[in-house]
Symmetry: C2
DNA sequence: CTGAAAGCGCTTACAG
DNA sequence: CTGAAAGCGCTTACAG
């Protein structure tokens, strides 16, 4: 490994000067500068990141904590983050909690010990211990997807998105609308979307019927099972539409309906949220809501970079969404 | 930040001893050991990774180079890699070339300068400059998806998978089988799968018809366009089946066929490769080949870890596959 | 069983 | 415009 000392010797200068030239800090005569740059070029010298990091307390690495790496949403978000940070020569250190809440906290600490310059967290839940762990790191930090009190958050407009979807169903004449949600420890997906559904129905004077409501776990399978349970118990007054809070679960619900010979949307209309690639290619194509994940990732990265430069940022950035009407309604 | 010196002072020992206890290297009296561990626990001390890395030349980080992060294949593979390396407390540093071949080479060098302990590359092409760049790093290295001469590679059995698929089509009575592939700078997907198709047809005495063959770029859209071009020029002797080398392109092809009123599989059978989630939920469901991406990721990670411990590994590991028959044939 | 000292490869006041 | 020196937080022979 060539080091800064080697370069210094070869260029007949001190390593101080080499450092200055490489970092564009302080003066250096044109002559010396060129000589150094030429040698750097020839040798392919790259400064040791660890040494630099040890000295400057900056690592050039951004930590990203994901609930599950192998999902379309996650990879889109990471794509957006990467696009922005790569431009400023930052790398991403990815950690995957595999939906384990303890790991979220553990990774926050781990990333700190790895000297990351900032953290972006895609969380599926919000709790005090997590918040405390983040606070203790004292690091630039962005929460994406959930509003984390006290931290800059990039969130989707879950409430209004779900209101719009429910309203759309009502306007199409549906009165008995079923609902498949997720657990309420997830404020964004579990609580906001459900509240929107409930409030909108009530506003229109429709009764909330517990028999029409189910809870899944994000998986296609759980959408299938939820739909099955609803249909098993609705007797002679079954819903004419079902609002499912994620595309994957919606697709599971559609599977069950198709298996049972229901026609979509004639017998039952189905809607999702997420605008996954799949939603476009299932039959019938799924009416859903597009969140701009990649853009959210970009936004989060920009905010993190701003924080790292000590710029003040607002608390909360709400991303826009778009309802995509397709054939399942 | 608490450092090893703080811990040493608090425990009334030298930092040498603290280091030994923390790394389980060399002796330490039970008494001292307990005292140190207790203080570490209380303070939440975590050793500085940069300092450690500077000193030991090991970073505890594995570099992964991906052609495109936001794909199902990539995220499955990364999931598998992560599963294995996380157990040994390694982190993954992800880089995304966005299908830019220059970036592959650039990232190989960048990862080297970041002192990663090893590199796993998911490549879409093979060229001499890339091979040279990898050689120069002198780092443990695994190629996944492509056989890289001179390096340990984890590959899929592209050739036989494509042979099996073509044979299956032939056994179903198809004689005029169209083909949608990708560019030949991709040895695995572009060359092997195509050769298998061509050889299998020839073996059965069927002519290879250029009008039946198209090249896409992995996108759904390109499958759509490829199918369109084939159908525009086949006149009165159109194919009765089309073998598409990726699921996404196959789904594009199906879109076009459905739009034009073709029945699948009655008028034209369609097959893909990849067993994406989508392939299961499109209508009709897509006959495809399952590669075990996550397992390939695990295998690559294990081999890398083995190399890092200076264990010798074989050159080439061929992953198994499974043909999944569904409704599109 | 324990510690003093050197050194990993950088950057940054400080001095000239 | 340039350099000598200190120091970032560790680990590891070496000595006792």
């Amino acid at each position: 490994m060539t080091t800064i000392n080697d370069i210094a010797k070869m260029a007949n200068v001190s390593r101080t000067t080499v450092s200055r030239v490489l970092n564009n800090s302080g003066y250096a005569s044109e002559d010396v500068r060129k000589r150094i740059l030429k040698i750097v070029e020839e040798t392919g010298y790259m400064p040791s990141v660890s040494a630099k990091s040890l000295r400057t307390k900056k690592s050039g690495v951004i930590g990203v904590i994901l609930p599950k790496i192998s999902t379309e949403t996650a990879s889109r978000v990471v794509g957006g983050i990467n696009e922005v940070v790569a431009k400023e020569d930052f790398q991403i250190l990815l950690t995957d909690t595999e939906l384990d809440k303890e790991k979220e906290i553990e990774y926050v600490r781990l990333l700190k010990s790895r000297h990351v310059d900032g953290i972006i967290l895609l969380s599926t839940n919000v709790n005090d211990r997590l918040i405390q762990a983040v606070t203790e790191t004292n690091l630039p930090f962005i929460s994406l997807g959930q509003a984390l009190p006290g931290f800059t958050s990039v969130v989707y407009d879950d409430y209004h998105a779900a209101v719009d979807m429910t309203n759309m169903l009502i306007q199409k004449g549906h009165e008995k609308i079923a609902f498949i949600g997720v657990g309420e420890d997830d404020p964004a997906v579990g609580v906001l979307r459900k509240n929107a559904y409930v409030n909108t129905l009530e506003k229109h004077g429709y009764a909330i019927d517990d028999r029409f409501m189910e809870v899944g776990d994000f998986s296609i399978e759980s959408g299938y099972e939820g739909m099955k349970r609803i249909l098993k118990r609705c007797g002679d007054q079954c819903p004419t539409a079902v609002f499912v809070v994620t595309d994957r679960m919606a697709i599971g619900a559609m599977e069950y309906l198709k298996e049972q010979g229901y026609r979509i949307p004639e017998d039952i209309a189905v809607t999702g949220i997420g605008a996954s690639t799949m939603s476009k290619y299932v039959s019938p194509s799924l009416t859903t809501i597009q969140y701009h994940n990649k853009e959210a990732g970009r936004k989060a990265a920009e905010l993190l970079l701003a924080q790292m430069k000590n710029q003040k940022t607002d608390d909360k950035f709400v991303q826009t969404y778009r309802l995509i009407s397709r054939d399942s309604v």
